[in-house]
Symmetry: none
Subunit: 292 residues, 2 copies
């Protein structure tokens, strides 16, 4: 079988094409002139095209050689860039991070993280998907997500967890509701009203905490509606179908006809955690974790 073309041939060709002089090109490449001559000749044989005209005492490029030089310039540049980029991806300063999140994380934590990372590592791309606690854990385990923003007390073996935000709870009532931030003293004041909550499939920890807040005050809430979307819950409250208890940070980002009344003197907090897989192989993740 005949020879294969190699980058070496291209490098040598470029040197001769630029110098238009075999000995000078050979000097520049730190090889001997006969060695260079033979490699160029071999290259011409491989691609089957004469690239240089050796006119007695002068070397010039043929038309095909001129074209090849221009393209190889581009190709070498592209190869260099690709290798640099590959190194960057390996070092995590480039690449993609796949994030899952609960809607309530979109109000404060995630935007802050994105802005911060973007400033330091502008070449990292993000893909974001809102999904439930449970689906996030599953996706992280399957390496389909790099990071998850969840509200969970416990996570399975092999998953790392870190608290990133602690939030108080607020009561959400219609604008025209009798209670105001001044008159609101305890959640017991709405013990007789209907409650609209996030569905427990979406976040069972949230659901359990709401229940315990009420139990602490001696009543069991009458839950009439459940939803997975904050927007929906607010709309239902606005329509007078009941009241809700949600993390206070959800106050930002929505423009609806509801009042937020922070619940005073309760020990329960809405804790947002970030989770990731211990042996995740995405090099970009290691970089991101530094920001958390």
């Amino acid at each position: 079988m005949s020879y294969q073309i190699e980058l070496r041939h291209f490098t040598y060709f470029m040197a001769v094409a630029e110098e238009l002089h075999f000995r000078k090109a050979a000097d520049r490449l730190f090889i001997s002139q006969p060695g260079l001559s033979r490699q160029i000749k071999q290259m011409e044989e491989i691609i089957g095209v004469v690239l240089f005209v050796r006119n007695k005492r002068k070397v010039t490029l043929t038309a095909a050689g001129v074209y090849l030089k221009k393209e190889l310039d581009y190709i070498f540049n592209h190869i260099d860039f690709t290798i640099r980029q590959t190194r960057l991806i390996d070092q995590g300063s480039n690449g993609e991070i796949r994030i899952g999140f609960l809607g309530s994380a979109m109000q404060t934590v995630i935007p802050e993280l994105l802005v911060m990372v973007n400033k330091e590592l502008p070449n990292i791309q993000f893909s974001l998907e809102e999904m439930s606690n449970h689906l996030q854990v599953e996706a992280v385990e399957k390496d389909q997500l790099d990071l998850g923003f969840v509200r969970l007390a416990r996570v399975p073996e092999g998953i790392q967890k870190k608290t990133v935000h602690t939030d108080s709870f607020s009561l959400v009532v219609p604008l025209e509701h009798r209670l105001t931030s001044k008159t609101f003293k305890s959640i017991a004041q709405v013990s007789e009203e209907h409650f609209i909550l996030f569905s427990s499939d979406y976040s069972s920890l949230y659901y359990d905490k709401i229940m315990s807040i009420c139990e602490d005050k001696g009543f069991t809430p009458k839950v009439t509606h459940k939803s997975v979307h904050a927007q929906t819950i607010f709309k239902l409250v606005e329509s007078g179908l009941g009241v809700a208890i949600v993390p206070t940070s959800l106050q930002q980002g929505f423009d609806l006809g509801v009042k937020f009344l922070e619940i005073p003197k309760i020990p329960q907090k809405a804790i947002l955690s970030v989770i990731w897989k211990k042996d995740n192989r995405n090099p970009a993740l290691q970089q991101i974790l530094k920001f958390l």
Copy 2:
């Protein structure tokens, strides 16, 4: 001094990246497995990045490896094209133009273009391949095609588009069908018949237009067969399995037992466009674009 990266390394890397199996990749390359292992290891040392995770029984690409594979695919394609082009230039030709097209473009537009270009630039070579809208866009983006003849409303960023032919639609019926060019007044006259159409994967714009032609006349066509080949569609119509609606220009070039009845007074037109990549590096393309 340390080693230099060579195309050999890239070729080997691609084989392993595709097989994800060192011995199989080695077989494909007709070299021994230890030789391959060593070259891959050397490549990883040269660029300073681990490209494969060897899990003792499974081989997978790292994130950096995935990126490198995608880029090398592009680079190899570009090198191949460059060498072919260099040979053509050497032979006195002005280069090669790779064209993709929908079958219906072969009736009028492309032959005219070829004749015209051939008169002015007799040394340009053409390679022609029939393929779907979608595959053409993909190939143009990957620099595997210089020109595509498509029926598309929109094309991605970085792709240029220009209308080259506007055609009316015709109803295709068997020769012995009751309708003639004189009695045919509206598509509603065949609202009860079965329709044979180009498959929507082949050209969704075409499919949607046919649907809207029928909807405008107040009925939904009963589509019983779909095909990607005009020839097949005509054969099915000839066999009495239904009627079809196709661009009128398809009347030329086939000798079949069907009648074409141009659909009168409808706003829908079959628009054929030519697409090309904005930063295509083929110098011959610039020449061709002048003819469009």
